[in-house]
C-alpha cells in the first residue's frame, strides 16, 4: 500500500468508528454527561460547601478536573473495547483482516476512534461544569496534552481487553473491577495528602493518580505529583501497551485461528 492508500484505510476506520458512536449517541454520549452532572450537583453543590476547601480551592473546583478526566477515561476505554469486541463477535473484523491494511493502522484507527469519543465527552462535560464552577485554565498545553495522552492510553487498554475478551462479561469485568476502583482512588475527590503516609505510598502505584493530578495542574496549577513524572508515566504506559497491542495483532491472538 502507498502512504496515500494507508491514509485512506486509516481514515475509513476512524470515520466508521465516529459514525458508530454518533449513531448510538443515546448510549455513548449522553450517559456520561448525566452521570457527571449528578456528581457536580451532589458532591459539588450539596456536600461540597460542608467539606470546605481542598488544596486551597473550593471543593467543587477541586473535583471538576478529575470528573472530566474520569469521563474521558471511561469513554475512550469503553469505545474501543465495545467496538473492537463487537467487530470480533459479529466477525466483521474479518473485513479488515483480509484487507492489506497493516495491523498498526487498524490499531491506530480504533485508538483514534476512542480518543475522539473521549474528547467529545470531555468537552461536553467541561461545558456542563461551567454551570457549577468558575473554571479557570492555568496551563492549556498541559491540559490538552494530558487529556489526549490519557485517552490514547485507555483506548489502548480497551483494545487489549477486546482482544482477550471471549464474551460480553469479559468486556465489563476490567472496567468494573479494575478501572472504576483505580479511578475513584486516583484522587478525583481528595488530595492524597489527606491520607496516612502508608496509603499515600500505596496510591503512588495507581497510574490514574498521575493523570488526574497532571490534568488538575492544567486547570488549577496544583498537583500532588511532579508534572514530568506524570508525563513519563503516561508515555511509558502508552509505549508498553502499544507494543503489546501490536504483538497481539501480529500474532493473530483471538482473531486468526
Amino acid at each position: 500500500m502507498t502512504w496515500r492508500e494507508k491514509y485512506i484505510a486509516f481514515s475509513t476506520i476512524v470515520v466508521k468508528e465516529i459514525t458508530r458512536f454518533a449513531r448510538i449517541w443515546m448510549q455513548t454520549l449522553l450517559p456520561p454527561v448525566i452521570t457527571t452532572s449528578l456528581y457536580f450537583v451532589i458532591f459539588g453543590n450539596l456536600i461540597g460547601p460542608r467539606i470546605g476547601e481542598m488544596d486551597g480551592y473550593r471543593y467543587m473546583d477541586f473535583i471538576v478536573p478529575g470528573l472530566i478526566l474520569m469521563a474521558v477515561i471511561t469513554n475512550s476505554y469503553a469505545n474501543v473495547v465495545s467496538s473492537f469486541f463487537g467487530a470480533k463477535f459479529q466477525r466483521f473484523i474479518e473485513e479488515l483482516l483480509i484487507s492489506p491494511t497493516p495491523n498498526y493502522l487498524i490499531l491506530l484507527g480504533y485508538v483514534t476512534g476512542g480518543v475522539v469519543r473521549g474528547m467529545i465527552v470531555g468537552t461536553i462535560v467541561t461545558f456542563v461544569s461551567l454551570f457549577f464552577s468558575d473554571l479557570q485554565i492555568h496551563n492549556l498545553p498541559v491540559l490538552i496534552s494530558i487529556v489526549v495522552l490519557t485517552a490514547v492510553l485507555f483506548s489502548l487498554g480497551g483494545f487489549i481487553n477486546a482482544i482477550f475478551a471471549r464474551n460480553f462479561d469479559d468486556v465489563s469485568i476490567v472496567p468494573t473491577f479494575i478501572l472504576t476502583p483505580l479511578t475513584y482512588l486516583g484522587g478525583i475527590f481528595y488530595s492524597i495528602k489527606l491520607l496516612p503516609e502508608f496509603w499515600q505510598n500505596i496510591s503512588l502505584f495507581n497510574p490514574i493518580l498521575y493523570m488526574i493530578n497532571a490534568f488538575r495542574f492544567g486547570f488549577l496549577g496544583v498537583s500532588d505529583i511532579d508534572l514530568w513524572i506524570s508525563y513519563s508515566m503516561i508515555c511509558t504506559f502508552i509505549a508498553v501497551l502499544f507494543y503489546l497491542c501490536l504483538r497481539l495483532l501480529n500474532s493473530g491472538y483471538g482473531l486468526r485461528q
Binding site: 466477525r91 473485513e95 483480509i98
Partner: protein
C-alpha cells in the same frame, strides 16, 4: 502464464490437535472457474481461510499470482476478494456503508469507492436497499451483499465459500449468471459449494478434498468422462406390468415409471430401440442424479462411483 493460485504442501493442524489439511497442492490457472469440493469438515474452508489470511498455516507455501504470501501478504491480499460462508458484516450498517468502507480498507478513495459500490449494488439488485440496515435484508440479499463487498476493490481472484447456501433457485441462477459474467471479464473464481449441479454448471476445473487430502484434481470434462454409467428415469405413456429383460439394468419405480442404467459404451438411441421392441413407449426422461454427485460420492466414499478411485 502465472497461476492465480498455487499451493504446495499446504497443511494445518489446529490448537486442539485436529489436522484439517495434510499437505495439499493446488494449481488454479488465471481466468479459471475452479471448484473446490469436499464433504463437511474436509478442509475446504481451512484452505480458503489460509489463502485469505484468516487462518495461519502450519506448513506449506501459497502464491497468489506469483506473490509468495510469506514474503508480501498485503500485496497478495489486494488481489483477493473473499465471500465467506457465514454472514460477517455489521448488521447495523447499510449495504452502501459496508461496501464503501471495504473499498476504503484497500486504499480506494471515497469517490471511486462510491462509484464502484453503486455499480456492484446495482448489478446484484441491491441498489434499492442501499440505505437500509443490513439486518433487514433477506438471506439471499445478504449473500449478494457479500459478493458486492468482495468485488468492490476489483480483485483478480474471487473466492466464494458456498455463496448460494440457503438461496432460492431463482436467485441462485441469477447469481450464476453474474459470476459467469465476472469470470468472462477476466476474474479468476474459486468456488466451494454443496450444490454439485452448481459446480458442474459453472466450473471448468475441479479439486476434491477429503480428510484434508486432495483426492481428485482435474478438469470437469475429464472427471465427468470417468463416469461409466448414467441412470435415467423414464416416464412411460402406458403402464408396464412386467419388466423387459434388457442388456442394461432396468428397475420399475411404479407402473408408469422406469429407471434404467446406460453405460458409456451404449448409444441412447439403442436403448430406445430396445424399449420400443418390447412395446414400451417413453413420454419423457430425466437424469436420476446429478452426474458430478455420483462421482463425488464415489470419490469421498472410496467406492469409485463409476469412476476410478484415485485416493
Amino acid at each position: 502464464m502465472t497461476n492465480a493460485l498455487t499451493t504446495r504442501r499446504l497443511a494445518k493442524t489446529y490448537g486442539n490437535g485436529l489436522t484439517a489439511l495434510r499437505g495439499i497442492d493446488l494449481d488454479v490457472a488465471e481466468g479459471d472457474f475452479f471448484a473446490l469440493l469436499g464433504p463437511n469438515g474436509a478442509g475446504k474452508s481451512t484452505a480458503i481461510g489460509i489463502i485469505s489470511s484468516l487462518i495461519t498455516k502450519t506448513d506449506g507455501r501459497v502464491w497468489v499470482f506469483g506473490i509468495d504470501v510469506d514474503v508480501d501478504f498485503p500485496a497478495a491480499k489486494s488481489l483477493i476478494g473473499l465471500v465467506p460462508q457465514e454472514i460477517n458484516f455489521n448488521l447495523f450498517e447499510t449495504p452502501q456503508q459496508i461496501v464503501v468502507n471495504q473499498a476504503g480498507y484497500y486504499g480506494i478513495p471515497r469517490r471511486l469507492a462510491r462509484n464502484a459500490a453503486e455499480r456492484y449494488l446495482r448489478q446484484l439488485g441491491l441498489w434499492e436497499k442501499r440505505n437500509e440496515r443490513a439486518r433487514t435484508l433477506s438471506g439471499g440479499m445478504k449473500r449478494r451483499l457479500m459478493i458486492a463487498r468482495a468485488l468492490v476493490h476489483e480483485p483478480k481472484l474471487l473466492i466464494l465459500d458456498e455463496p448460494t447456501a440457503g438461496v432460492d433457485i431463482e436467485i441462485r441462477r441469477s447469481m450464476w449468471e453474474f459470476l459467469r459474467a465476472i469470470n468472462a471479464a477476466g476474474t479468476t473464481i474459486i468456488l466451494t459449494t454443496h450444490y454439485l449441479e452448481e459446480a458442474e454448471s459453472l466450473c471448468r476445473n475441479i479439486a476434491i478434498i477429503d480428510h484434508g487430502q486432495l483426492v481428485e484434481n482435474t478438469n470437469m470434462k475429464a472427471l465427468l468422462a470417468q463416469l461409466n454409467t448414467e441412470t435415467f428415469v423414464l416416464d412411460l405413456i402406458e403402464a408396464v406390468d412386467t419388466l423387459p429383460v434388457l442388456e442394461q439394468r432396468v428397475a420399475r419405480i411404479d407402473r408408469t415409471t422406469l429407471e434404467i442404467d446406460v453405460t458409456k459404451d451404449r448409444n441412447i438411441n439403442d436403448v430406445f430401440a430396445d424399449l420400443s421392441a418390447h412395446g414400451i413407449k417413453v413420454k419423457s426422461m430425466r437424469n436420476k442424479a446429478n452426474r458430478l454427485e455420483q462421482l463425488f460420492i464415489g470419490l469421498v466414499n472410496g467406492t469409485g462411483g463409476g469412476a476410478e478411485n484415485k485416493r
